[in-house]
């Protein structure tokens, strides 16, 4: 087998035992690996009705077959479990170096079962698999955990090569908003996974190893990568915008089309003076950082200077500026940077946390809740109070318990469920769905809740990288959404990042896959695999209790047009697009995959 290692580590925390298993080649052919294979195994082994925090839930870490082979942007490790926030299937994408190191340690996949009696750390270092006592690390932030673990290894050369994924205090306290952090990067779409890891009393996983990965045709593979690097360098979005400012360059573009939401998706007017790319340049000295084998380098590090903290931090990404900043009315980059850093230290998901805070702010704004009841003076634009709330939320100290349960629970507690801006229990990523119709349809139908990175339609809708489409128009959008959802399922399953689709077409990946894995797939073959994975996830969610009725956006987006800003008058036209989307997917009018669709995709028995 090329690319993959073909081995899986199964750890039962209740018994404290582990077992090494082979991964069957048929599954790998049908689902490629990564997200697809993880979902397949999770669905085979775990009942969809499982309580996310019970011992029966499992946690799967899986690296795709292209991770670590040098395939460009092949760094992503997927984490699959049932989310404790939305009760859907959850699939986080971990960036950085963990995924590649997991394969060098000799495994494609780690399956975590049961629950340890005391906090533990799973360490796979130099071929030795151990469960180490983790009491010493419990209660520490993610960066403290990482530093202390590396110090305790006692060998600076081994610790330099070791990579950790850990949970912060938020995950330990079983907060549904908790996510997992690796190498101080926030993982994407991880809301609800931190609590699952915390419920298993697993503080961290450390990997290091020296296994070799085989590729099928090395010389062709090297040539293909040379071509792909040249392609990325000649595309302005990847070579300039992304590598200069990271995803933060989207702020200005989104604002111009009315896509940047403000004050819990209620208004669209703001000044870019404080948060645009120019402000970013003057606020921070940017230093690029890359995930494994990435020629783009969109992660920006900097020295943060804030009255409460001075030191290393991340430059806020679009997600942080949108969710923790503008959508909470905060437009000061240093505060947003602090909030983003606190989320990474505490192990909180920025989208879910930002959504919760914005909901709390609107509750207070509408006088549905008083600041005294919430114990926080959370008003739109009050950055300092927001930072205090984030700190207390994660540690469950003070009176932040209600906030920590997430936006939906908070809105319901004050009888205003209409103020929860989210789908399937998860908060919306910061894109105004009324002003970008295709992405709105994706948010409504996505299996993992409304997150843009599972169907990056704005690459065509807003950035016009491959096709010139208008974000406010619905012409051809259902097809676009389906194509992007399938393509992302494929890139995730291979272990590649989906951002380079800005500079590369999906078909450019085909020679990379074939030369690495020794296969002879065409682009259409791969997209069929993507569709199979999408349908499999859909089936899991349906069995878990979701139906076509959950494929909708909050009433605000369907009934109230945008009142101000560049997108004035726009309204989400989901009801017009949904039937067409179901038809293209081969689902009935309730959104259930038809028997013939299941048959063509080879899912009739699953």
């Amino acid at each position: 087998m090329y690319g993959s290692v073909g081995r899986c580590l199964r750890v039962n925390l209740t018994e404290g035992k582990h077992r090494i298993e082979e991964i069957g080649p048929e599954d790998q052919e049908k689902y490629l690996g990564g997200r697809g294979l993880g979902v397949k195994i999770f669905r085979d082994e775990v009942s969809p009705e499982v309580d996310p925090l019970s011992t029966d839930n499992k946690l799967i870490f899986v690296s795709g077959p292209l991770v670590g082979t040098g395939a460009i942007t092949g760094a992503s490790c997927n984490v699959i479990t049932k989310s404790s926030l939305g009760s859907t299937l959850a699939c986080a994408k971990m960036r950085g170096h963990f995924g590649a190191e997991l394969k060098f340690a000799g495994f494609d996949m780690i399956i975590i079962e049961g629950r340890a009696e005391f906090p533990v750390i799973l360490s796979i270092i130099d071929n030795k698999i151990k469960l180490e006592p983790g009491l010493e690390y419990w209660g520490r932030t993610t960066s403290e955990t990482e530093e202390l673990f590396k110090k305790n290894l006692g060998n600076q050369w081994v610790s330099r090569e070791t990579f950790l994924v850990s949970i912060g205090p938020a995950g330990e306290n079983l907060l549904p908003l908790a996510t997992i952090i690796n190498d101080r990067f926030l993982s994407v779409g991880g809301a609800g996974i931190g609590a699952v890891m915390g419920s298993k009393n697993l503080k961290a996983i450390a990997v290091q190893g020296r296994h070799s990965l085989r590729v099928a045709d090395g010389s062709r593979f090297v040539q293909v990568i040379n071509t792909m690097i040249n392609k990325l360098n000649s595309a302005p979005l990847t070579s300039q915008s992304m590598s200069q400012w990271g995803t933060a360059f989207l702020v200005g573009l989104c604002y111009q089309k009315g896509i940047l939401p403000q004050n819990n998706f209620s208004t669209g007017i703001l000044s870019l003076k404080n948060i645009g790319t120019e402000a970013l340049n003057s606020a921070f000295a940017l230093r690029s950082r890359s995930c494994f084998a990435c020629p783009v380098g969109c992660i920006k590090k900097t020295e943060l200077k804030h009255p409460g903290y001075e030191g290393q931090g991340m430059v806020p990404t679009y997600l942080a500026i949108g969710s923790l900043g503008v959508n909470c009315g905060v437009n000061d980059l240093t505060t947003i940077g602090m909030a983003s850093m606190l989320c990474a230290e505490m192990g909180l998901d920025p989208v879910a946390t930002g959504g919760t805070l914005a909901t709390a702010m609107e509750l207070i704004d509408n006088k549905a809740a008083s600041p005294e009841e919430l114990k926080f003076d959370l008003r739109f634009g009050n950055g300092e109070e927001m930072l205090r709330a984030i700190r207390l939320m994660a540690t469950k100290k003070g009176h932040a318990r209600r906030l920590g349960q997430g936006a939906r629970a908070l809105a319901a507690a004050y009888n205003r469920p209409d103020l929860f801006m989210g789908v399937k229990g998860l908060s919306l990523a910061p894109f105004e769905p009324r002003a970008i119709q295709g992405l709105g349809l994706h948010f409504a139908t996505c299996n993992y809740g409304p997150h843009h990175l599972y169907g990056n339609t704005f690459i065509d809708e807003l950035l016009n990288a491959h096709e010139k489409l208008d974000p406010w128009d619905i012409e051809g959008k259902p097809q676009l959404v389906k194509d992007y959802q399938d393509a992302t399922a494929v890139t995730d399953s291979l272990g590649l990042c989906s951002w380079p689709l800005m500079g590369l077409k999906f078909k450019n990946y085909v020679p990379l896959v074939n030369s690495c894995l020794g296969t002879s797939h065409s682009a259409d073959d791969l997209l069929v695999v993507g569709e199979r994975i999408w349908n499999l996830e859909r089936l899991f969610n349906m069995e878990a209790g979701f139906s076509g009725a959950d494929d909708c956006l909050p009433d605000r987006f369907i009934n109230e047009p945008v009142q101000d800003g560049p997108g004035t008058g726009q309204i989400s036209r989901i009801p017009e697009m949904l039937p067409e989307y179901y038809r293209l997917r081969g689902w009935d009018d309730q959104g259930v995959p038809l028997p013939e669709t299941r048959k063509t995709l080879g899912l009739e028995n699953s």
Binding site: T69, G70, S212
Partner: protein, 124 residues
Amino acid sequence: MARIKIDHSKCTGCRHCEIACSLNHVQNTANPRRARIRVMRDRNRYYPVIAGPFVDAACTSKLFVEVGDLQYDMCALCRASCPEKPYFIEAETDIPLKCDFCGIPPSPSCVRWCNSGALELVED
């Protein structure tokens, strides 16, 4: 003579050079521990280090050097594979490794894949 110039301030730590080297020297194989270039991480900075000659004894040179307000760990930046440091030792054969300046022209494989500008081929 052509040389590889390293500008560590540009390095983003993607380690693509390590894999380039490994694929070029060991057929169809990707493994950073079989590469002749490694990226050392020191807090928030990355330093690409190219394997130099093998030495069979530990050295007596100064461990930390301060330039401006930055402190450099000279042992980590040292190019030699030596008994003190398990770097640049082939993962499967345990043979010490040394850069053989592969792939001229147009440039060595690590330089070709370095997209950040940290590695550069210069003539002087």
